[in-house]
């Protein structure tokens, strides 16, 4: 079913009028002590007041503000979103297997976060630019990164799988939070250039504790930069629960910096897409930065090196399994009669193909040349490094020469 795969992945959708009302500021009626919320810790549970369009059971509910932003998403597009989510999950499973088989050094699974990543990344335009952490392989896939390029870093053959400028996406950032400043700087650049491209920073719940992330919000607010802070709150930073990083919902943090926020069900691909489109529209039209908290769950280990049984609570895991992002879309598509056997088969074929190609290309990756370690340290020659390279080249041929 070719329509399932031919949908333009960077379509920006229609732009219904932005319901600015949602960012209006509630006022306190308390005498004298400030008009906005100056309150303390929060007692709300993690899921209270999430924006949702698709329930875990696959019912589509009405959410007037968001609905308009995904009104254009028709059956084909829904299937395409579904296909992407299925495929990236398949890639994830395959990569985990490859790691177990010694073909990859490490892999950070995104299991459970497919809707957050696909829903947001599919809302972007080609000329937008994405700065992610290390777990955003689905974002990379949606940006058009080649399959083999997804694994170079994890196989250890390169630090960069792809050329960032080919796909509008920087290569994975391992230093937690650092990329939020890069995204902000990029956005300031877009503004200076007079283009309406938008920068998107992806990061985790744990990252919000890093000073860099707060500084990024400050710069973004001060310069009214067209940047989206997209936080995937997957409840964990390795073994640390989100409650250690934030005593209130993460989405409550940015408003104090002057950046409006939305808290969406990160397992609801439509809600995520709608929220991202709202934020993109604000950014493109001079509205400045927006913060999105996508509330989701890391269903796998932190990475293939991690052992969550040491810290995770099984019951919580079960609870979230019931809210699976793919399952709910599947249920909805079924009930809407969109997920025909034909479609199902096409998606299966596609993901089988992808998995096969992914594996083949991964295991086929060759190690780079020894002397390439000296390349691209500098853009222009550096006399000290040139000398080291010459000496090491001499050493290699000496050793190969068998003298040692």
């Amino acid at each position: 079913m070719s329509s399932a795969t031919s949908v333009d992945k960077s379509v920006d959708g229609e732009k219904p009028e932005l319901a600015h009302k949602q960012f209006e500021e509630p006022r306190s009626d308390l005498p004298g002590l400030g008009g906005s919320d100056r309150g303390g810790p929060d007692e709300r549970g993690p899921e209270e007041e999430l924006v949702q369009i698709l329930t875990p059971m696959g019912e589509r509910i009405s959410q007037p503000v968001l609905d308009t932003w995904v009104a254009d998403v028709d059956g084909d597009q829904l299937v395409s979103l579904y296909e992407d989510m299925v495929v990236v999950r398949r890639i994830d499973v395959e990569a985990t297997a490859l790691q177990r088989q010694g073909e990859l050094g490490l892999w950070p699974p995104l299991l459970g976060q497919e809707a957050s990543q696909i829903g947001s990344a599919r809302a972007l335009r080609k000329d937008d630019f994405v700065f992610t952490s290390y777990r955003e392989n689905a974002v990379a896939y949606a940006r058009g990164v080649q399959l083999v390029d997804l694994v170079r870093v994890w196989r250890g053959t390169a630090f960069s799988g792809w050329n960032p400028f080919d796909v509008g996406m920087a290569t994975p950032q391992v230093i937690i939070g650092a990329q939020t400043l890069h995204a902000t700087g990029y956005a300031i650049g877009c503004q200076k250039d007079g283009v309406d491209s938008v920068a998107v920073a992806y990061f985790g719940d744990g990252a919000t504790s890093q000073g860099d992330v707060s500084e990024a919000m400050i710069f973004a607010a001060s310069f009214n930069a067209p940047v989206i802070f997209f936080c995937q709150n997957n409840q964990w930073a390795i073994s640390e629960p989100v409650g250690l990083q934030a005593v209130r919902p993460i989405a409550d943090r940015s408003p104090g910096f002057g950046i409006p926020s939305m808290r969406v069900d990160g397992n609801d691909v439509l809600a995520v897409m709608a929220a991202t489109r709202i934020a993109l529209d604000r950014a493109r039209t001079g509205g400045g930065p927006t913060f999105i908290e996508a509330v989701t769950y890391r269903m796998g280990p932190h990475t293939t090196s991690d052992d969550p049984s040491r810290y995770e609570d099984g019951a919580e895991h079960e609870e979230w399994a019931a809210k699976d992002p793919i399952l709910r879309l599947e249920r909805y598509l079924e009930s809407a009669g969109i997920l025909t056997d034909e479609v199902r088969a096409a998606v299966k074929t596609k993901s089988d193909e992808v998995a096969r190609e992914f594996r083949a290309e991964c295991v086929g990756l060759k190690n780079p040349e020894p002397l390439s370690v000296f390349e691209n340290v500098y853009a222009a020659p550096h006399s000290g490094l040139e000398r080291q390279k010459r000496q090491y080249a001499a050493y290699l041929s000496y050793v190969e020469g068998g003298t040692r």
Binding site: W154, V174, I175, S209, Q210, D212, N367, P368, P370
Partner: protein, 335 residues
């Protein structure tokens, strides 16, 4: 009492003992509590000493070190874990501008018995920022002590000495040696923290190493012995101060010096040792001191790390150089 332990378990035992001996000792860091650290160095300590003393912190290195300073103001002895070498830089300001200087700044009134544990170095096939050797930054910073252990016994003794030190200590743990076993005598009379140790005696060449490369240096000494060369291996143990007296005495005997470390060559510990020993032993040196180090490049991707890390062959090549034997540079401009 002696036991066979991995280096990681020896650190665990040393930390346990430190926690037991002094109730002002606290451990803090990311994932060190429930998980026991990504390398399990703090495994079981939260269960034993409570969440009040083995503290999982928010994900912010400046925050960890900065709050440790405040705890030191109240008389605590915080032991901070930085999860990997490459994640210490966000805390650099708090370490270099605060931890290192506050004793001086307060005219000695504030003591900062802060230990900062850093798993470091390469050789484990890791991704970016997980294989760095940032020790030279700290050895260049007045006010800090910088040490690194190379075997389980030192791991056990030195972590206890570091925690007991009233000065701040950067404690570098050679992560690729975490799983190597060795005897640990829990009652051993430890060497002072600032001292080096001769781990193999020899008369032709002095080979200085520390942390992850001590084992490689010992292998090189064995291999050289097959070639009829007698190599003295020094485990530096302390990078600030450097125990120059021990190195000097050795070089006065051998007349030849090779230094090896994983960190980039330019401005690394090797430069300081070569410069200081040349100054102290100028008339005893038969050849210019040679450095076998990482290159002046970012740590490369895993599949290329063997072309960055000093190994036995590169060390032996340098030994050949100081011995005036045929070597990879023979035929090169004499430099």
């Amino acid at each position: 009492m002696t036991e066979q332990l991995t280096l990681s378990r020896a650190l665990n035992a040393g930390l346990r003992r430190s926690l037991a001996d002094n109730d002002r000792v606290l451990l803090m860091g990311e994932d060190i509590g429930t998980l026991g650290g990504v390398f399990r160095v703090t495994d079981g300590l939260k269960a034993e000493f409570g969440a009040d003393r083995v503290i999982d912190t928010p994900l912010a290195e400046a925050g960890i070190v900065g709050t440790a300073i405040g705890l030191a103001y109240r008389g605590y002895r915080p032991v901070c874990e930085i999860q990997f070498d490459g994640f210490i830089y966000p805390a650099f300001d708090q370490i270099v501008a605060q931890v290192a200087k506050l004793h001086y700044r307060t005219g000695g009134n504030l003591v900062l018995p802060i230990t900062i544990r850093v798993p470091y170095g390469g050789g484990i096939g890791a991704v970016e920022h997980h294989s760095e050797s940032p020790e030279a930054y700290f050895a260049h910073t007045a006010g800090l002590r910088v040490v690194t252990c190379a075997n389980p016994q030192d791991a056990y003794s030195m972590i206890r000495e570091a925690v007991a030190s009233d000065d701040p200590v950067l404690f570098f743990e050679p992560k690729r040696r975490y799983w190597v076993k060795g005897d640990v005598d829990f009652e051993e009379e430890a060497l002072p923290l600032g001292s080096a140790r001769i781990v193999a005696t020899g008369s032709d060449v002095t080979l200085v190493a520390y942390g992850p490369l001590v084992a490689t240096a010992l292998d090189a000494a064995l291999a050289a012995a097959d070639d009829g060369l007698s190599v003295e291996v020094i485990d530096l143990r302390s990078l600030s101060p450097v125990d120059f007296d021990t190195v000097e005495a050795s070089v006065r005997k051998t007349g030849r010096l090779v230094i090896t470390h994983e960190a980039a060559q330019s401005g690394g510990i090797g430069a300081e040792i070569a410069a200081s020993i040349t100054d102290r032993c100028f008339y005893h040196l038969e050849a210019a001191p040679q450095r076998v180090t990482g290159f002046d490049i970012p740590y490369p991707p895993a599949k290329l790390e063997e072309h960055f890390l000093p190994d036995l062959d590169r060390i032996l090549d340098a030994v050949d150089r100081v011995m005036g034997r045929e070597n990879s540079l023979t035929g090169w401009s004499a430099s």
